[in-house]
Amino acid sequence: MTLLLEDVTLRAGDRVLVADLTLRVAPGEVLTVMGPSGAGKSSLLAWACGTLPPGLTGSGRVAVNGEDLTALPPHRRRLGILFQDDLLFPHMSVGGNLAFGLDGAVRGRAARRAAVAAALAEAELPGLQARDPATLSGGQRARVALMRVLLSRPHALLLDEPFGRLDTALRGRMRRFVFDAARARGLPVLLVTHDAEDLAASGGKVVELGRENCPA
């Protein structure tokens, strides 16, 4: 899978946030977009997902493996996204959250249950299906959120400062966990951050956004 963002321009009213940006992320590669807050990093990911907030307009093309996604609604794009907060659904159990994410192509009760159990095992949280997400630690919740995205079988992974809320010790582990999981699946990863350590750990290319557009 290769993720391609082509000639992307994002505007907030008259202000240009992102101008003619083209990014290509190879399978298993992590491409990091850095820039000050307000530079349009998160908006870039939202545009790729098809969830650009009203008030912002965007143009350009987003494609995976040559398939143009630009005209598809968000739920058909298969671009998994992780945010700074885990955003687990508070009304569902841990297993319920994972099952909600799990690709509908996995059919049959037993198969779906097994997929959820395997995901929990991979996240080193075996047997926690029935737990209330609110009772998990921050690191555990972050791992559940990642597994939820991976179970939806995305074609690429978009990370919107996903490690910002974790404490320093946890951050390193979680980073490795996410990058390893993406690499193992051959997913292109587009990471948005302002943490230089994220960049160092990703070991990939970096694009800087918004120097000229953003008043300091």
């Binding site: 098809g50 609604p73 298969r78 687990l88 009304h91 997400p133």
Partner: protein, 574 residues
């Protein structure tokens, strides 16, 4: 950052059906009001061909003002309406100031919801049974403290001044305005302002007046205006607690509408227009007063006077709040006691014998009105939710909150009911819908919609959009997101809004009377009719049942989501 989910973006040429929701809601709410107003205005100026009025003239107004009761009725309306609004506002704001003490806040939180859910009529009937010369309070004190062996001959309810009516309105409107004030406080980040003012040496009351009230007032002015209009034009409470001769203007106009002499319809419409004019003038007065007080506040703020620590004011406000709460609780309690009373002679503090006979005897008579109340209330509430929820989803879709259009929600609450309901009945008659289920549910919907919208809007807007974006990016279609994420997460506010809507519907007297064309009895119309002279036990049973419906619904609305969320701590935080 909160980002609205645009689930339908990038699909130009496919307009969302949600886009029609706001127009549909406004039409459902305002068409009856507009048609009703027009059909009241025309006869007021003599135009009503069906009744032989084919010439536009001021004759109906002349006829109306020629009635001997009119000057007294206008005076009674102004006296009670203005006093009830002013007192309710001052007491509610004072209680909000005192609610900075945790104990007062907890007490207020506990008592506000049940008082709001209790219908006006039931509460008024209960208050009458408390305060009347032969009421529970006199019975409890006699003959020991008073020496009375027969009820004293003093008018403590239906008094000519209207004090009982003012008190009855205050018991209902103070909780409403207090709730609105506390909600506005939470939004305006008022505690921070108060702390800043305190650190600069300002006493709590002065700080409230100078830095907190100006910030919460913008959110309070429409609710206060609604209370003002309601207090000036209320009918059911005025029938039960208000002065009899002359009555308030709204009651007088209702009598004219009900007069078998159809010629009275013209002066009745004129009277309804006069009442609407009075309400309009009072609203103008309110907004003039608002400016004056704001100017005064700015002068006071520049003076640098700090104000005292306000212990005396705290005590006084707390005491008044306690008395109102006790009256409200006592009103409900006396309904229970009377409905189970066997024999209760005067000056006995409690019935000598208890019995379920009243309930047994009344069960057949109450079941019809109870079913009508339940059906109308549930139908109007369900319809309101079906109109409001798409509206709020459309807001999410477009990312725009039409603040100005939202003021339209207050139109049915600001126009006096009697000024458009009689006209609405005429319009329904012409459509052959009067007295039918459609007419009743629609008439109730007009008043249920604003409350359902207002109680649902804030929680709906506060939902974290990123949860919905996450669900969409996991592959869930917009409808799946709504069903599996939005609705379950908003179950609590949805049920609460439904409870509010249902309580509003159960409490409606005039809309039931007019849209039902006098042929449909709800618990409310029954209770109000019986209150004018039936056996107290029967009145109490009817009023208690009327109050029980919304109270039970409220309890379920609070209880069910908590039970459902008992294993989900994250939901409790919302």
């Amino acid at each position: 950052m909160r980002w609205p989910l645009q689930s339908n973006i990038a699909l130009p040429g496919r307009p969302s059906p949600l886009a029609a929701a706001p127009a549909l809601l406004v039409a459902a709410m305002l068409l009856p009001v507009a048609a009703g107003l027009a059909a009241t205005l025309a006869p007021a100026f003599g135009w009503f061909p069906a009744l032989g009025g084919g010439v536009v003239s001021l004759r109906p107004f002349a006829d109306f003002f020629a009635l001997p009761e009119v000057p007294g009725a206008i005076a009674a309306t102004l006296r009670t309406g203005l006093a009830a609004t002013a007192l309710s506002l001052v007491i509610a704001v004072a209680l909000a100031v005192v609610a900075r003490h945790g104990a007062v806040r907890r007490a207020a939180d506990a008592i506000v919801a049940p008082l709001l859910a209790t219908p006006h009529a039931a509460l008024a009937i209960g208050l009458g049974f408390l305060l009347a010369p032969s009421g529970w309070i006199v019975r409890a004190l006699s003959p020991g403290l008073t020496g009375w062996h027969v009820p004293p001959d003093i008018a403590t309810v239906q008094d000519p001044l209207g004090a009982a009516l003012v008190l009855g309105l205050c018991v209902k409107e103070v909780p409403y305005l207090l709730l609105m004030t506390l909600a506005a406080l939470a939004q305006a980040d008022a505690p921070a302002s108060r702390v800043v003012a305190a650190s600069l040496g300002y006493g709590p009351w002065r700080a409230w007046a100078l830095v907190v009230l100006p910030r919460v007032w913008p959110q309070l002015r429409l609710p206060v205006a609604a209370v003002l209009s309601f207090s000036l034009s209320v009918v059911d409470v005025a029938l039960i607690l208000g002065p009899g001769n002359p009555p308030t203007l709204a009651v007088l106009v209702l009598r004219l509408f009900n007069d078998p002499d159809l010629g009275r319809w013209f002066p009745a419409c004129a009277g309804a227009v006069v009442l609407a004019g009075i309400v309009l003038a009072a609203l103008g007065l309110l907004f003039a007063l608002e400016r004056l007080l704001a100017r005064l506040g700015r002068v006071l703020a520049r003076s640098g006077a700090r104000g005292g620590d306000g212990r005396g004011a705290d005590g006084l406000a707390g005491a008044i709040g306690a008395v109102l709460a006790a009256l409200g609780a006592g009103a409900l309690a006396v309904l229970v006691v009377w409905s189970f009373a066997g024999v209760w002679r005067f000056s006995d503090a409690l019935p000598a014998r208890w019995s379920g006979a009243t309930w047994q005897a009344q069960a057949p008579a109450l079941s019809g009105p109870a079913q009508a109340t339940l059906f109308i209330g549930l139908a109007a509430t369900l319809l309101a939710l079906l109109l409001v929820v798409p509206c709020l989803e459309n807001e999410r879709r477009t990312g725009r909150t039409p603040r100005r259009a939202l003021a339209l929600l207050y139109v049915p609450l600001l126009v006096p009911q009697i000024a458009f309901l009689s006209g609405m009945q005429q319009a329904l008659l012409r459509l052959h819908l009067d007295g039918g289920a459609v007419a009743l549910v629609w008439a109730h919907l007009v008043f249920v919609l604003p409350y359902v919208f207002l109680s649902l809007a804030d929680p709906w807007r506060a939902l974290d959009e990123r949860l919905l974006r996450s669900a969409a990016c996991l592959g869930a279609s917009p409808w799946r997101v709504r069903l599996r994420v939005t609705l379950p997460l908003l179950a609590r506010p949805l049920l609460a809004a439904a409870a509010v809507g249902f309580a509003v519907s159960v409490g409606l007297y005039l809309p039931t009377l007019f849209a039902g064309a006098g042929r449909v009895a709800s618990l409310t119309t029954e209770a109000v009719t019986l209150a004018s002279g039936a056996d107290r036990r029967i009145v109490a049973a009817t009023a208690l049942l009327q109050a029980a419906f919304p109270l039970v619904f409220y309890a379920l609305a609070v209880g069910l989501p908590s039970w459902r969320a008992r294993h989900r701590r994250g939901l409790a935080l919302q």
